[in-house]
Amino acid sequence: MDYLEFAKDVVARAVERGVEAEAYISVGQNTSVNVDRGEVEKLSQAGSKGLGVRVIRDGKMGYAYTSDFGAGSVGKTIEAAVNLADVADGDEFRSLPAPQPLLEEDLDIYDEAVVALPIGRKVEMARRIEKAALRYDERVVLTNRCTLISQHGTVAIANSKGVAGSYDKSFIGGFVMAMAADENDRSVAFGFDFGSRLADFKPTAIGKDAARKAVGMLGGKPVPTQRASVVYSPMAATSVLGALSRALGADAMQRNRSFLEGKIGETVAADLVTVLDNGRLPGGIATRPFDDEGVPTGATRLIDEGVLQTALHDHYTATRDGTASSTGNANRRGHASMPTLDASNFYFQPGQETPEEVIGGVEKGLYVESVMNTASINPISGDYSISAKGYWIENGELSHPVNEVTIALPMQELLHNVKAVGNDLTFVPMMGALGSPTIRVDGVMIGGSG
């Protein structure tokens, strides 16, 4: 089936109802393999497909979706979207984007080798993840949820203004939880890796990483409550980026839901801080030629040496702004959801120092390896208080493991207190595609014992 032609047909049918219309189609094949002590514990495979129809009339928008591509079901879906648009309220800035030229370049997001990977190889890779974790150290007592996921599929978008495009995407990822135990303690850590290309996928590294972290945290204890320097690992630093990306969305700024509202042109961070969003980063998890309403993706410099430059935009927020253009950041979680504004590959620009040099610059402080409850960080107020695990830094070196502490500082201050930025930019694809080098932030409140 030619999905782009199908999308265009759906648009043509919807237009007959006197509306602007957009059809979004997502089709994919998914495999997930779960191993436990070498055995395939759970295996799931299937194809899935879906169509989402968005219609706009007089600035009123309606959306409906279906997984049935039959003519009758498509007709009903269009009908539902049109009826919902009648119920919605009008908004003068609401429209669909017009086509823009798409750049011809290889974004490296589709790998035939992932598509062709036989199930036996997938099982073998899942086993390698587990084996690497269990063999790392005798204190690694078990693994849990050792999973390999592979996906590939097609996205097609067409609208009544003439937008029409499609692309293929592949994905391979692995995940494992390792548990370490000794006489006195047990500890748990995760390892994972995701990407578009088979050649870059390193199952053994996933297992080793989980095992190294779990063993290292054995015997971790809270440190006394105090204000100190905190060095974030790239993974822990994404706790800052996630909330920052939401606060930098033009929707949040236009609607009074961002602690950065009204601050464009102002210094909002230390001059070491440069923040970028790049939807065209070759091989990136969030890379694609155009966003989920068909606007070409691009690279946006949001904070440049501490100065807030611009917000992330989709077609609606750019139209409403009047002077901005969409930065290609419309995003959906599948065919059942309308596009919403979201970051793509969003990251702190790396600096010059090695991670060791960043840690070496701290006399006493906390090296944070992993964090929990980052969803609680509030992009409206800037309130930031999460739990952390890692190591105490003593005279520039990691000493004993630290557990069950909180780290807190309002985001407004945190950004200004960045004192060092490492050269080890790493993307952490657990929450979208956030990337950071090792960073140091001073004056963070550590909540612990006493």
Binding site: N30, E39, V40, E41, K42, L43, S44, Q45, A46, S48, K49, M61, Y63, Y65, T66, S67, D68, A80, A81, A85, V87, A88, D89, G90, L142, N144, M177, R186, S187, V188, T225, R255, N256, R257, F259, A336, M338, M372, N373, S376, I380, S381, G382, Y384, S385, I386, S387, N403, E404, V405, T406, I407, A408, L409, P410, M445, G447, G448, S449, G450
Partner: protein, 462 residues
């Protein structure tokens, strides 16, 4: 949904390669969601998600394949894909006679969603919005949402199980932001249940909005929360989310059978104070975690997890129950037909204890009262957890003296439960906004009376 003969042929196809159990799960989900933002009904979405899958068990392992095309041919194809994974098994099972199961649990859909127009539903959101804006000039943003979901499920397996369920979920959410000068604070709220439009008989989504606005307004002038160890009193109702996260997840059988949970091997052992009793109950009418049958066709139960401080039982799905050679407790749930079931909580709560809630607060010399909690997270292996306090109060000499913002609670679940030294008489279930994430989303309900933990780490900035 499909004729019984078709179901039997699909199950037989699942058994062909020697599997010992085959199961079919079919689902038809219809939903409508409306979002009002800046006073405008901005997003209106409607859709239908239909599909089914075949799961094949061989020993302790299982393979699954699914399809969004619900014909006998497609399901037989899925059964073939799943069956292939069991090719080394050598059972010769055939499908038993299918008998439709009955359940004493009532599916409460007295008035279906169609009895109210989309305009009327949008009207409630408009009212929620207006009430909030009129509440205070400092309210700068109001978002309100409505979601209705009708989810019909059919489960069959080759041991003769045939169970059907029809679940209706209705929910309203609200988010409010308030601002004074450069200070912004927000607050979220929600109410919902597993029922039809009779929801409105005893619930009022409009009434929850001024309360949420009050929290945001209060937090504008609140001082930063303290940091360090102190006694913490946690509110009743939604406060039970702490037990759900910090202890409940550690009692789900998948982590137990692996030996990966802090509660592995502790049935019969003391895990909390004598006056602590806790349940997981999937049978309470109208609650978010209520089901007639779980997503594997097992009847739901009222499972006593802890009795007078002694750990009694874990929460089991079919996979883990087979592994342990026992029966499921009706806790096998899946987000959609695309997912394999796993043990999940339903409606989980700490039962009423002996202490007067006012005395509990009165007993604290210097500490924190967590009046509203946000979300949290747990690391199941060790039981370490973290929670956000969205409205906190300082307790000084037994009185609530000042609101504080930005507080977080961290601790270890099993240890917190052991330390818990006061449990109130005021047990309540939450208003119905719980959504639990464990790789898959599931609607849940939580509850507890007011409780006191004498020593907990609070993560503030002071």
């Amino acid at each position: 949904m499909l004729p019984t003969e078709s179901i039997r042929r699909v199950l037989d196809a699942g058994l062909t390669k020697g599997a010992d159990l085959a199961e079919i799960y079919l689902e038809n989900k219809e939903s409508l969601s409306l979002t009002l933002d800046e006073g405008r009904l901005e997003k209106a979405t409607q859709g239908n998600d239909i599909g089914g899958g075949v799961r094949v068990f061989y020993g302790n392992n299982a393979a699954y394949a699914y399809t969004d095309d619900l014909t006998e041919e497609s399901l037989i194809e899925a059964a073939g894909v799943a069956a292939a994974a069991a090719e080394n098994a050598n059972n010769a099972q055939v499908c038993a006679d299918l008998t439709k199961r009955e359940s004493p649990v009532v599916s409460r859909i007295e008035r279906p969603f169609e009895e109210m127009s989309t305009q009327e539903k949008a009207g409630i959101l408009r009212e929620m919005d207006e009430v909030t804006r009129q509440h205070s000039p400092h309210i700068v943003s109001v978002q309100c949402g409505y979601t209705e979901t009708r989810r019909r499920v059919w489960v069959y397996n080759s041991e003769g199980v045939w169970a059907e369920d029809d679940r209706a979920f209705i929910e309203f959410q609200g988010q409010v932001a308030a601002q004074k000068g450069d200070v912004r604070q927000s607050s979220a709220t929600g109410v919902g249940g597993q029922e039809g439009l009779e929801f409105f008989d005893d619930r009022d989504p409009v009434a929850m909005m001024p309360e949420a606005a009050d929290t945001a307004l209060l937090m504008l002038d609140a001082r930063p929360a303290p940091a360090g160890e102190m006694p913490v009193v946690i509110t009743n109702g939604w406060g039970g989310v702490l037990f759900h996260e910090a202890c409940g997840h550690c009692m789900e059988a998948d982590f137990i059978t692996k030996g990966a949970s802090a509660y592995t091997g502790l049935v019969g052992e003391k895990v909390g104070p004598d006056f602590l009793t806790a349940y997981d109950d999937g049978t309470i009418p109208g609650r978010r975690g209520t089901m007639r049958f779980d997503d594997e066709g097992a009847p739901t139960n009222r499972t006593m997890l802890i009795e007078n401080g002694i750990l009694k039982e874990y929460m089991w799905d079919l996979t883990e129950a087979r592994r342990a050679g026992r029966a499921s407790t009706g806790n096998g749930r899946r987000q959609t037909f695309r997912d394999m079931p796993m043990p999940r909580m339903t409606n989980t709560f700490i039962d009423a204890g002996p202490h007067d809630p006012e005395e509990i607060i009165g007993s604290v010399k210097k500490g924190l009262y967590a009046k509203r909690l946000g979300g949290g997270q747990v690391e199941i292996g060790r039981g370490d957890y973290v929670f956000t306090v969205t409205e906190g109060w300082l307790i000084e000499d037994g009185k609530l003296t000042a609101p504080v913002r930005g507080a977080t609670l961290v601790g270890n679940g099993p240890e917190t439960l052991r330390l818990m030294d006061m449990i109130g008489t005021d047990m309540a279930l939450d208003p119905g906004r719980g959504m639990c994430g464990k790789g898959q989303w599931a609607r849940v309900s939580v509850g507890q009376p007011t409780v006191r933990v004498p020593k907990l780490t609070v993560g503030g900035t002071e």
